[in-house]
């Protein structure tokens, strides 16, 4: 995590985080937690099962809670669908021969910080429908073993940067004067610096707790 915090790409988000934290004393602010199921797509879906993910964040809103900003961190740990995945290499000798091999993934984690904003497009009583966009940067940790008969046997532990965009659609429900319950579906279009796609969707639920006493008429205007 220390390594993550001192990455250049993280500095921007950390600065934004600090500003938001300061801002949280002057605007309506709170903290939140989201539990989600990360559902990989693309090449990631080939190898990994759906995984649990956790996000913790600070949140602040404008005066009528139309625009809501979040900044925080998240973690997802993916397990593989198979024990090993077949691979091969080709020996272009005479005759040409396929050399059998396998991949064994022992660890694949995503650790990231994010910043996103959502906009409430419809609000009916205590229910709201919102959409949002944001940025994610972080690290992935991938440990694997690769073997091709007579050619290679290697184990590797890769930790590298990744980043991308997040877009979401969600609904929320106001619980009393301090809390908001929400559910959201999110697309995380993420790639490593070597352009390896780590794209995944998340479907999750969460809770936001606002520090100050909310004013329903201000923060949740009725239509």
């Amino acid at each position: 995590m220390t390594k993550l915090l001192f990455r250049p790409k993280s500095i921007f988000l950390l600065a934004a985080f600090a500003l938001l934290l300061l801002n949280s004393f002057t605007t309506h602010a709170g903290v939140g937690l989201r539990l989600a199921q990360a559902r990989p797509y693309g090449n990631l879906k080939f190898v990994f099962k759906n995984a649990p993910s956790l996000e913790l964040f600070f949140v602040h809103t404008n005066q009528n809670d139309r625009l809501r900003g979040r900044i925080g961190g998240g973690y997802a740990n993916f397990a593989t669908k198979l024990d090993t995945f077949s691979t091969y290499d080709v020996d272009y000798g005479y005759p040409t021969t396929l050399l059998p091999g396998y991949f064994l993934y022992t660890r694949f984690d995503l650790m990231y910080v994010f910043m996103d904003y959502s906009y409430t497009i419809v609000r009916v009583k205590d229910f709201g429908l919102n959409v949002g966009l944001g940025l994610t940067v972080g690290l992935y940790q991938q440990d694997y073993e690769r073997s091709v008969t007579g050619l290679v046997h290697e184990t590797a532990s890769i930790q590298d940067e990744m980043g991308g965009f997040r877009s979401k659609i969600g609904v929320d429900y106001k619980l009393g004067s301090h809390a908001v319950l929400f559910a959201e579906a999110m697309n995380n279009a993420i790639a490593s610096t070597s352009w390896q796609s780590f794209g995944h969707n998340t479907i999750g639920v969460g809770l936001i707790y606002f520090f100050g006493e909310s004013e329903p008429n201000n923060y949740y205007p009725r239509r």
């Binding site: 693309g42 080939f46 669908k81 198979l82 995945f85 077949s86 396929l98 059998p100 497009i121």
Partner: protein
Amino acid sequence: MRNLLILLIVLLTFLGCKKVPKDPADYYPKVKMLDVSVQPDGSVKVRAQVLSEGASELMHAGFCMDTLPNPELLSGQKLATELVDNVFTCTYTSLSAVSKYYFRAFAANEDGYAYSDVKELSGGGIDTAIIPCSLAFNTLRLEPSWGQPDEIFSVVEEAEYNGLGCRFSAHTGSRSVHFTFGSRPLGIFTTSEASSPQPGYVWILMGGYTIAAGTKVYIKQLTETSFDVWLCNARVMDGSGRTLSLRLRSPY
């Protein structure tokens, strides 16, 4: 209207992606064995069909073969050179007629490879109906015969294996014939004038003269150590213009 536009943009970010399989097995090709058939020359033709390329482009297809069940990729591997209507074919030669063999197809795409089901074969070997001459058991015939009857092999030695090939001799009352095979004697060989023949070729020496190159020699395996040999109308390089035909069993 503005809200609808925002909603539409966000929804579009969830769409437009290529649908990918959920089951990892669907990323790999799917292939099944069609048949294993013994050809008249004793070779074995195997056919398989690609049912699905998987989630990426098909790169290779072929077969593996072993005397043990569930052959692995490196056992007797042969790669197919073409795919016609998703069917590919390979031919195995020099297979023992008395062993049981297991064949399994495989196909590989950019993600990996997958096997087919397994088919087994026993009791192969050449079809003797394709042999173009008819001779009695353990007989040697020279033509023109100049009035001499066919000769009978009284002793045929057991083959002595040496490296890839083997050698043995057969004796009638008046002459000896020496055989040197470049590989294990199975199926159809071709005569060679080289005393150290390549695999698939046989050097035959009779009375100090070789047999002309290019004639087929038919070998049908009987057990692990015995086989029948046919040679039809092969020119003897002794200047007489005569041809040699023979049928023998080693050992006898």
